[in-house]
């Protein structure tokens, strides 16, 4: 086991716990930096997808994992981001202008949704966001003069300062964006704003007693979350080349929600774990399909079924997701012969709804 000796107050607000942790992250960064040199295009494009889902997941994680608000409609922000960006590209706006503009539009939309939705909590909020997503989907489908409707909308290839990005360059571009997003979100979470999010998640009544304005904080969380999800949308548009209203359906929203839950609520590394999982699972299912007898292997609903089944398993056996499991494994090895099974067992406590103030 390692103990960190703290000699000044800045150690408590550092991004990394100590040098060892920093070196691990640096090593990981160098690894993904060098990977395209040795790997084929398949791995490269899969990883690009992981990066993009991670960005979207980071957006949703702020909302679900850190502010404790459920959203079943985040595909709408993906869609608005992607379409706004594609339409602006079509009008000749350069990428480094259109991406920020799409993010601003998304966050404004997030604030509007939050004003309407935040007077509700829990399941009611989930339903309200779901309704919002459906409205956006219908608008995108029917406003064909702007969005192309069901015929789809072509996304111009990524171009930065007159230089067209090929798939490897695009990989690095997404990696850069992801790194910036992760840094910004981690910054937010170690500063007062992020702490206010967490306070709202853990006890609204206490947060109010601490002088935190609930509505404002929740609206802020919605804005940040929508902006990041919109950013992911703009990047996904490039990857998909064509945008269709059906690419941003309710299933996408649920997939995003699964990403943050399976990854591990309340952790940014969980976002990346979740994104890897979401990206690899369809391939995994495709492989398994081949081994299965035809009668089962060709069932059309196999993918959503597996998703749903895994989600239930995770919620029952590892509510903290892949990240929670990973932390437990690390603790096991760091304390090796002394690890006790009950170490992380929590005392049974009342659910919040059962508590009376």
């Amino acid at each position: 086991m390692r103990f960190v000796l703290k000699t000044d107050y800045h150690r408590d607000s550092g991004l990394f716990r100590d040098r060892v942790q920093f070196s691990w992250y640096a090593a990981l960064f160098i690894f993904v930096l060098c990977l395209p040199i040795v790997s084929g295009t398949y791995v490269e494009s899969q990883l690009t997808t992981v990066f993009m889902w991670s960005i979207a997941g980071a957006g949703l994680m702020i909302l679900v994992g850190y502010t404790g608000l459920i959203s079943l409609g985040h595909a709408a922000f993906l869609s608005v981001g992607a379409y706004t960006h594609a339409i602006m590209l079509d009008l000749g706006v350069p990428m480094f202008v259109s991406i920020p503009l799409a993010m601003v539009l998304c966050s404004a939309l997030g604030v509007v949704v939050s004003i309407a939705a935040l007077r509700m909590t829990g399941i009611y909020l989930a339903i309200a966001t779901l309704a919002f997503a459906m409205i956006v989907e219908k608008i995108v489908k029917n406003w064909s003069a702007v969005t192309g409707g069901n015929a789809g909308f072509k996304v111009a290839p990524p171009e930065l300062f007159g230089w067209e990005l090929d798939s490897t360059a695009y990989y690095y571009f997404c990696l850069l964006v992801l790194t910036v997003v992760m840094l910004c979100v981690s910054n937010l979470l170690r500063a007062p704003t992020g702490r206010a999010f967490i306070a709202v998640r853990d006890s609204e009544i206490s947060a109010q007693a601490m002088g935190i304005n609930l509505l404002k904080t929740k609206a802020l969380a919605f804005a940040v979350s929508a902006a990041l999800t919109g950013l992911a949308g703009t990047l996904l548009g490039y990857q998909w080349h064509y945008l269709f209203p059906d690419s941003f359906s309710m299933l996408t929203s649920i997939q995003l929600l699964m990403l943050v839950i399976i990854g591990g609520l309340g952790s940014m590394s969980g976002v990346v774990f979740g994104a890897i999982f979401i990206t690899l699972l369809p391939d995994g299912i495709a492989t398994v399909r081949e081994w299965l007898p035809d009668s089962i292997g060709n069932l059309p609903g196999l993918e959503p079924l597996t998703f749903g089944f895994l989600l239930i398993l995770v919620l029952i056996f590892e509510p903290l997701g892949i990240n929670g499991r990973w932390q437990k494994m690390r603790l096991f090895f760091s304390q090796f012969p002394l690890y006790r099974n009950k170490t992380l067992k929590r005392q049974k406590s009342f659910l919040r709804t059962e508590r009376v103030h």
Partner: protein, 250 residues
């Protein structure tokens, strides 16, 4: 400095608090006591604006706060603790205390996103300030521990510390001794006196424990079924015939 005039609160047909008036002087330790269901906690919840006031006014530091939103209360210098503890369970003690620095922040979301040097400086300053409170309540060894792994008595202390980190002028304590054993209650009475003397914080306390009240408070208000029945020093109140009958029945 703090004054409540003819405060009333009804829940449906039940009158929880009926025309209660009292005032707390600066530097005082003022207690509210009474049998179960007397409306003590309701008074605190009205003051911290979790409940809407039906009738009457609340004044603090020369300003009317009867209709201020709940998150404004902390900013005006009133902090509170809860009877059943409302800490942020999954966070460490340090994180819990840092949240109390939120109202004193001078940065906004954009500087937070980039963690600009002034955010970094502000964080270090907040940490430095917390250390004073941690020293005062001797919480040093719990700094990095998560709340759900702490014993109940320590959690109560952490909640007290968190309220103090708001740098309040008036501290509302909701049954600070509930769930504590006699020894911890004894310690608590010393903390309360320290907070009152060293930090100059005025204290308004709702309490059951007559010993604790007798040890620390300057004046006591006794409530029964929402009605004020006696007000005076602990000794005066203890022998008041209405108080005895309210507790023992007539």
């Amino acid at each position: 400095m703090f004054e409540v005039v003819r405060l009333s609160k009804h829940f449906g047909g039940v009158t929880a608090v009926n025309e209660v008036s009292f005032s707390v002087n600066e530097g005082e330790i003022f207690s509210i006591m009474g049998p179960n269901g007397a409306g003590k906690t309701t008074v605190l919840n009205l003051v911290s604006r979790f409940y809407d006031v039906d009738e009457g006014t609340i004044q603090f530091a020369g300003e009317d706060i009867t209709h201020a939103p709940p998150h404004e209360i902390a900013r005006r210098g009133i902090a509170r603790t809860f009877q059943n503890i409302e800490l942020f369970e999954r966070e460490t003690v340090l994180q819990n205390l840092l949240i109390a620095q939120y109202i004193h922040r001078k940065t906004n979301i954009f500087s937070d996103l980039l963690f600009l040097p002034r955010v970094r400086r502000q964080e270090a300053q907040s940490r430095r300030f917390l250390e004073d409170i941690i020293d005062l309540l001797q919480l040093q060894r719990y700094r990095e521990q998560q709340i759900h792994s702490l014993p109940f008595g320590v959690r109560k202390l952490v909640e007290l510390a968190r309220a103090l980190c708001l740098k309040p002028k008036l501290l509302l304590l909701d049954e600070p001794s509930s769930g504590l054993n006699p020894e911890e209650t004894e310690d608590l009475s010393f903390w309360i006196e320290d907070i009152n003397k060293e930090l100059g914080v005025t204290i308004l306390m709702v309490e059951h424990d007559m010993n604790l009240i007798g040890q620390v408070s300057n004046r006591v208000l006794v409530l029964a079924s929402g009605q004020p029945i006696a007000l005076g020093t602990p000794v005066e109140v203890k022998d008041h015939p209405d108080v005895i009958s309210a507790y023992l029945g007539t």
